[in-house]
C-alpha cells in the first residue's frame, strides 16, 4: 500500500506553509503554547519546537533545511539531537493536525 505523505519523503526539498495563514491565534504559558485555528475551530497544544516552526511559517513559506537552521539558532538544541529529524517529526505532526501543508510543486 502506498502512503502518500509529504514529510516522509525526506529527499524532496519540500516547501511548507501554513494551511490557513490568517486564522491562527495564540496563547502561551512558559514553554507551553496553545494555538486556535479559526479555520478548523480546533485548539492545539504545542511544544516549543512546533510552536517555533509555526511561527516561522507565519512569516512565509520555508523548507526543511531552512527550518532546521533557524531552529538550531533559535532554540538551544543539544548536540546529540538530530535537529533535521526533529523538524521532520514536528512537521509530520503539524501536517496531521492540518496546521501546515507542503506547497505543491
Amino acid at each position: 500500500m502506498h502512503h502518500h505523505h509529504a514529510v516522509s519523503e525526506k529527499a524532496a526539498p519540500s516547501l511548507f506553509r501554513l494551511s490557513s495563514p490568517p486564522s491562527l491565534h495564540w496563547a502561551s504559558w512558559g514553554d507551553e503554547y496553545v494555538v486556535f485555528d479559526e479555520a478548523s475551530g480546533q485548539t492545539h497544544l504545542l511544544d516549543p519546537i512546533k510552536a517555533y516552526i509555526l511561527d516561522v511559517l507565519s512569516g512565509g513559506n520555508a523548507d526543511v533545511l531552512r527550518l532546521t537552521l533557524l531552529l538550531e539558532k533559535a532554540l538551544s538544541v543539544p548536540a546529540h539531537v538530530n535537529s533535521h529529524e526533529v523538524v521532520l517529526a514536528a512537521l509530520e505532526q503539524l501536517e496531521r493536525t492540518q496546521l501546515v501543508e507542503a506547497v505543491p510543486l
Binding site: H25, A27, S28, E38
Partner: protein
C-alpha cells in the same frame, strides 16, 4: 419582591396560569407547572430569589407538566416542554422537581452565547473565584456544597458563566444537586442546610437538592475574578493533595468541557485564555471535606497576602 412574599395560593395560581417569572442570576425563567412537588420545591428552595413581573420578558419559558392519555393513570409521567417541543424523554412523575432543575440547566447550556459556559462549579472568597471543573463522579458537587457552608460563596454548582468582555465569572447560583451518599454526607456536615425531599431511582441515582444560603442569593449580581482552576477528585482514604497543573493542558480540558467553546470560535478562545492567564491551575485529590476547606482557605490567605 421575592418568591417568599407570595402566598401559597398566589404561587399555585401563577404556576398553573401565565407562569411564575423568576430571576436567577442574569436570566429570567418563566415557569409553569401544575405539579405539586414542583410548587413545593420552588417554595422551599427558591424562596429568596427575585420574582419578576408576569409581563416581563423571560429568557426561557419552561413547563413541567404531567403526562396525558391513559398513561397518566397507570404510570404517571413528568414532561418538560420548551418552545413547543419536548426536548427530554418523559420521566416518572416523582422526578418532576429535579426535572425542572435539569431543564433549567439545559435551557442555558443549549441557548446562551453571551457567556463562555464551562461545565464547572464555581465558588468565591474575597472576590476571587475558584473554578472546579470535573466529570460526574469526581465529587464536585459534594465539595462545592461543603465549601459554601464553610465561608465560600456559591457562584454555580453546574456551570461557570464567563463574561466575553473581561474575564469575570457571573453567578448563576441555584440549588446544588447532590446524589446518593453525598446527600447524607452534607446533611451531617451542614445540619442547618435545607434540602428538597430525596427523589429515588433517577438516572443519576438518588437525588436531593440543597438550598443556596440566603446571603449568597442576595449577592447573586456580584461577579468574581477567576483566580484558580482546580480539578478535584474524591479519593477515598487519601490525604488532601494539591498538585500544580499545566495551564495549557487545563485550557484544553476546560475547552473540551465547555458547552459553547466551539460555537464561540475565536471569542471563546480569547475568553478562555484570559481565564487561564488569571488562574493558577491544580489537580486536587481529597477524601475529607474539612481538609479541602483548609487547603482552599490557605490558598486564599496566600493570595490575599501576595
Amino acid at each position: 419582591m421575592r418568591l417568599a412574599d407570595l402566598s401559597s395560593t398566589e404561587l399555585d395560581k401563577q404556576l398553573c396560569g401565565a407562569g411564575l417569572v423568576l430571576g436567577v442570576g442574569p436570566f429570567a425563567f418563566r415557569i409553569k407547572s401544575p405539579i405539586e412537588s414542583v410548587h413545593e420545591g420552588l417554595h422551599r428552595l427558591y424562596s429568596n430569589y427575585p420574582l419578576l413581573r408576569g409581563d416581563q420578558f423571560a429568557d426561557f419559558d419552561v413547563t413541567v407538566a404531567g403526562g396525558r392519555g391513559v398513561r397518566r393513570w397507570w404510570r404517571p409521567q413528568a414532561i418538560f416542554r420548551f418552545d413547543g417541543g419536548e426536548p427530554f424523554l418523559p420521566l416518572p412523575f416523582t422526578h418532576a422537581f429535579p426535572l425542572l432543575e435539569w431543564a433549567m440547566n439545559w435551557c442555558v447550556s443549549m441557548h446562551v452565547q453571551r457567556y463562555l459556559l464551562l461545565h464547572a462549579a464555581v465558588v468565591e472568597k474575597h472576590g476571587l473565584a475558584m473554578i472546579l471543573p470535573a466529570p460526574p463522579g469526581s465529587g464536585k458537587s459534594t465539595l462545592c456544597a461543603g465549601l459554601i457552608h464553610r465561608g465560600w460563596r456559591l457562584l454555580s454548582d453546574e456551570m461557570a458563566l464567563i463574561a466575553l468582555q473581561g474575564d469575570l465569572v457571573t453567578p448563576f447560583g441555584r440549588p446544588v444537586s447532590l446524589k446518593n451518599q453525598s446527600i447524607d454526607i452534607i446533611k451531617a456536615y451542614a445540619p442547618e442546610a435545607v434540602f428538597s425531599p430525596t427523589v429515588h431511582d433517577t438516572h443519576k441515582g438518588d437525588v436531593a437538592l440543597l438550598k443556596v444560603p440566603t446571603d449568597h442569593v442576595h449577592r447573586i449580581a456580584e461577579p468574581a475574578k477567576p483566580r484558580w482552576v482546580v480539578f478535584p477528585k474524591y479519593a477515598a482514604g487519601e490525604e488532601a493533595c494539591l498538585t500544580p497543573r499545566s495551564k495549557a493542558q487545563s485550557m484544553l480540558e476546560l475547552g473540551r468541557n465547555s458547552f459553547n467553546y466551539m460555537v464561540l470560535g475565536r471569542t471563546g478562545f480569547v475568553g478562555l485564555s484570559r481565564v487561564i492567564d488569571a488562574s493558577d491551575c491544580y489537580d486536587f485529590r481529597y477524601s475529607r471535606l474539612d481538609d479541602a476547606v483548609a487547603v482552599f482557605d490557605q490558598m486564599v490567605a496566600d493570595s490575599v497576602v501576595a
